[in-house]
């Protein structure tokens, strides 16, 4: 006797379930299939290839009219089920009722639409079905059409890539710091972003949508909370899905995030079963088809009265965008007792990361070369013990032999036109030519090409290029790498950041083959500095890559309190400022007030929580941060000079103030102190500063490279100039040259010892070069000359200085 089966939803899960059922028990069931979409089952995954034009809709239909006919399925397509009457065992469709013996709920999920103002405008769509897909396809018929996609996950990126392939100008707006953050780590996210940008897609990460703007009821632009407007003709929201449970819920079935089912796919009503994205099994909900197919098999077995149980297993993700080869499986984020194995091949744009927990592989992320994905996925699913092959695991199944990561990969990957020697503009290809022409030593190469002949900081790179060309004939001198994360030296890293135009931390980690996911406390602050110094506009300073003093803009003391030092320009202050400092000292109970060697006042022993309020008070009196904690301009010490002193030859105080106002706020490789003395009696001790100016009757003698710390150094003469304006120009140009070339944490005197004073003099003696250095300095100052106290005294920032919670207080509730 045939029984009546009603299925709500003709989706991927129910289609597969019906196949099993008809195969194993033909003729046992009289099936009625409802679908809200005006069509039958098709392969939803393949909407993306339809969108990009690689497939037609007809090719992705999985069950056609003949198939339904052959199996006697009554199709009620385009008809939504509005009610389930469980007492009467009847399903109510928009066009009438159908009775059931068994009912299957397979309603899938609903795309989540962020309730932004304007989300109901025409032209704001999700990405879920053929209608949405066709809407996007039609957009490309309008020349110059623009689209914005909110959401940089799997769906959003497939939508973006599909529209871009049809010539639409697409911008992806993603809330998180990198794309597909649930499946990918930052490094893989960087490579993916790079590939999408190459396809002409604009990607904005860490971007928060605020409002959708419309015109005559149609979408016009997306407004971000930083005020940016992104004009668009269509806005696709792909930010997530919610199990579609409204129908089941109103029928009184047990529902949590999804419709509750047991291992047999039966809901809280024994005659109602459910599967697909609408269900919740053992606390989990679903978003990929692999587990749904398992559910389909189990549900069919249950209907046939056989024992079967659904067991969830690890799923893997692939993105269906041509040219973006990525793979992610298992869990590479949360958990305890884990270890990473990282492999990067900059030449091929490959990144692989395996996450191990004890002897087992628990997660894998790969970009660029995913051939071994299935193998790793298998190891994860089967929970295999991999300790035996741990050393070579990352090279995949074909390579259980013992390959080594190549320390010279980054240099090998450089194109021939990458500039190796910045001073003399020598590119890699030129050095290779020289070697092929017979140059066998670094001196030979220097003689032929001039590479590394000037400041010399590129010597390491030149040698690596030689080693690559000469093979075993060349013995590389051993240079000291930055840290254990890389084989490159600071100088190599700096040059490569410039030559390859690396503008983000993930770009550096990947293109230079870092062996850790995000560096360490040694390399990260250095790389952060190099990036912000070379790309002031493109790179965003990362507070989490800074040492505590720079992050909190105050000096941490040995007892964990901080010191606060307001700036006193050229050592000048006045009664109003002094009063404000005294008031702050009283108000915040500052235990120690000290006059520093840099001619200003240090308030020591301030608690972290008090910093923002104290800064705000000092700000109100016109005082700004003295950067007494930073690798940047500290002080410009001056003497009273011509204005008050009988020996004074020039206005040394005035010049000092002028220099400090110009230079403050700039980050440098290490701290920088200046001094200006009004005559050779040198009361401002200018001759032991990083840059010291001694005024004489005929002008200004500028010297550099002094120090009065662990090493005591006298400045070396740089130049003598006639006017204050020139003195300022040379000073700024020198600071910029130092910013652009020195190794992180080298004071100017150390850097000068490496590159030579002659080189510094020569570099600065060319007026055009000097002007260019000054222009680059000023450009950087447009970003970085900001009072950090004022920024951090703002409430949102100030919160960071408070404890997240205080559990020592009694609970208020």
């Amino acid at each position: 006797m045939t029984k009546k089966l009603v299925v709500i939803g003709a989706g991927m899960a129910s289609g597969r379930m019906l196949e099993h059922l008809f195969e194993d028990a033909p003729g046992n069931w009289d099936v009625t299939l409802f679908n809200a979409e005006p069509r039958g089952n098709y392969n939803r995954l393949m909407l993306s290839p339809v969108l990009s034009g690689e497939k037609t809709f007809a090719e992705i239909v999985t069950h056609d009219a003949d198939w339904y006919d052959a199996h006697g399925v009554t199709c009620r397509f385009g008809e939504r089920v509005v009610e389930i009457d469980r007492a009467a065992k009847v399903v109510v469709g928009e066009k009438g009722e159908v009775a059931y013996d068994k009912l299957v709920v397979a309603t899938g999920s609903d795309p989540f639409m962020i309730p932004l103002p304007g989300h109901d405008l025409d032209g704001v769509i999700p990405y879920r079905d053929l209608e949405d897909t066709e809407r996007m396809m039609r957009l490309s018929e309008t020349p110059g059409a623009r689209a914005v996609v909110i959401g940089g996950g799997l769906l959003g990126l497939e939508a973006a890539a599909g529209m871009a392939a049809r010539g639409v100008d697409v911008t992806v707006v993603h809330l998180m710091g990198h794309l597909m953050e649930r499946q990918l780590d930052e490094a893989a996210g960087y490579l993916l972003r790079r590939a999408l940008v190459e396809k002409g897609i604009t990607v904005r990460c860490a971007a928060n949508s605020k409002q959708i703007l419309g015109e005559n009821g149609h979408v016009k632009a997306l407004l971000l909370d930083d005020g940016t407007e992104l004009p668009c003709d269509l806005l696709v929201m792909a930010v997530g899905i919610r199990p579609s449970v409204a129908l089941a819920k109103s029928a009184g079935l047990a529902v949590g995030r999804g419709v509750h089912v047991d291992d047999q796919m039966v809901t809280s009503d024994p005659d109602v079963l459910a599967l697909g994205e609408c269900v919740e099994h053992d606390g989990a909900v679903f978003g990929l088809v692999a587990p749904l197919y398992d559910q389909a098999k189990v549900l069919a077995e249950t209907l046939m009265g056989r024992a079967a149980a659904f067991r969830p297993k690890e799923v893997a993700t692939k993105l269906k965008v041509t040219g973006c080869d990525l793979f992610s499986a298992g869990d590479f984020a949360e958990g305890e007792g884990r270890e990473d194995i990282v492999f990067r091949d900059p030449a091929r744009g490959v990144y692989k990361r395996l996450v191990l927990e004890g002897p087992r592989l628990v997660g894998a992320v790969m970009y660029g070369d995913t051939a071994d994905g299935a193998w790793f996925h298998g190891l994860i699913k089967d929970r295999e013990d991999v300790s035996e092959m741990r050393e070579t695991l990352i090279f995949g199944p074909a390579f259980q032999g013992g390959a080594q990561a190549d320390p010279m990969a980054a240099v090998a990957a450089l194109p021939a036109d990458a500039e190796i020697c910045g001073c003399n503009g020598v590119c890699k290809g030129r050095i290779v030519e020289a070697v092929e022409g017979g140059a066998a030593t670094i001196e030979d190469v220097r003689a032929v090409t001039k590479a590394s002949g000037s400041c010399g900081t590129c010597t390491g790179l030149v040698e690596q290029v030689m080693a690559l060309s000469l093979g075993d004939d060349f013995v590389m001198p051993t240079a000291k790498p930055v840290c254990g994360c890389t084989d490159l030296t600071h100088e190599d890293v700096r040059r490569l950041i410039k030559a390859q135009e690396l503008k983000s931390q993930p770009a550096v980690w990947q293109e230079l083959g870092w062996s850790t996911p995000n560096g360490c406390h040694v390399c990260r602050p250095a790389v952060n500095y190099y990036l912000l110094a070379d790309w002031p506009l493109e790179y965003q300073d990362d507070p989490q890559s800074r040492f505590v003093n720079e992050r909190n803009h105050a000096n941490i003391q040995k007892d964990g309190t901080y010191s606060v030092v307001p700036r006193m320009w050229g050592g000048l202050t006045n009664a109003r400022e002094l009063r404000a400092i005294a008031d702050a000292a009283d108000k915040y109970g500052v235990p120690t007030v000290k006059v520093t060697g840099g001619q200003r006042i240090d308030l020591l022993g301030v608690r972290k929580e008090d910093l923002p309020a104290m800064w705000a008070d000092l700000n109100r009196a016109g005082l700004v941060s003295g950067h007494a904690y930073s690798k940047g301009l500290r002080t410009v010490k001056t003497c009273v000079g011509r204005e008050h002193c009988r020996f004074g030859t020039q206005d040394s105080t005035g010049l000092g103030v002028r220099l400090e106002k110009r230079l403050w706020g700039a980050w440098t490789p290490h701290k920088v102190k200046l001094g200006v003395s009004g005559c050779p009696r040198n009361c401002a001790e200018a001759t032991c500063k990083d840059l010291g100016i001694v005024c004489v009757d005929s002008g200004f003698e500028i010297g550099v490279g002094g120090a009065a710390g662990m090493d005591l150094k006298e400045i070396q003469p740089l130049v003598k100039v006639a006017t204050e304006g020139e003195a300022e120009e040379w000073s700024v140009a020198f600071v910029q040259l130092y910013r652009e070339h020195a190794k992180y944490l080298d004071r100017p005197y150390k850097w000068i010892a490496k590159v030579g004073m002659d080189w510094v003099r020569e570099a600065l003696s060319d007026p055009a070069e000097r002007a260019a250095l000054v222009a680059r300095f000023d450009l950087s100052q447009t970003i970085y000359q900001k009072d950090p106290w004022a920024e951090r005294a703002e409430p949102a920032q100030a919160r960071r200085f408070q404890p997240l919670a205080d559990l020592t207080l009694e609970a208020a509730e």
Partner: protein, 110 residues
């Protein structure tokens, strides 16, 4: 165990840390680049440096005072240095941070 909600994951900067005051002393919450969160004592066993002010890299933090590096999962100092910091049970649920009140000496709220 008694889980206490102490804030949202987003309140801690990526690769950064925040403090929680508890009866057993200051506890630092570290958020790694991969979005994992760990709870451990804020006090470095070397000379008491505030670990929440250190640089977070991989699953480790470097003390800001003299660069001891601690594994955030085990609390043990890495490399040649010997010592360890207490770690505390922490759960993340729907983006909220839940710390075990008993472990940090807070009697369960009645």
């Amino acid at each position: 165990m008694s889980w206490i909600d102490i804030g949202a994951v987003e309140d801690i900067p990526l690769r950064g840390a925040r403090l929680v005051k508890t009866p057993v002393g200051c506890v630092a919450l570290f958020r790694t680049g991969e979005n994992e969160v760990f709870a451990a004592s804020d006090r470095c066993p070397h000379k008491g440096g505030p670990l929440s002010e250190g640089i977070v890299h991989g699953r480790a933090v470097t003390c800001p005072l003299h660069n001891w590096v601690f594994d955030l999962e085990t609390g043990r100092a890495q490399g040649a240095d010997e010592g360890s910091i207490p770690t505390y049970p922490l759960r993340v649920e729907d983006g909220r941070l839940l710390i075990d009140g008993e472990a940090v000496g807070r009697r369960a709220a009645a």
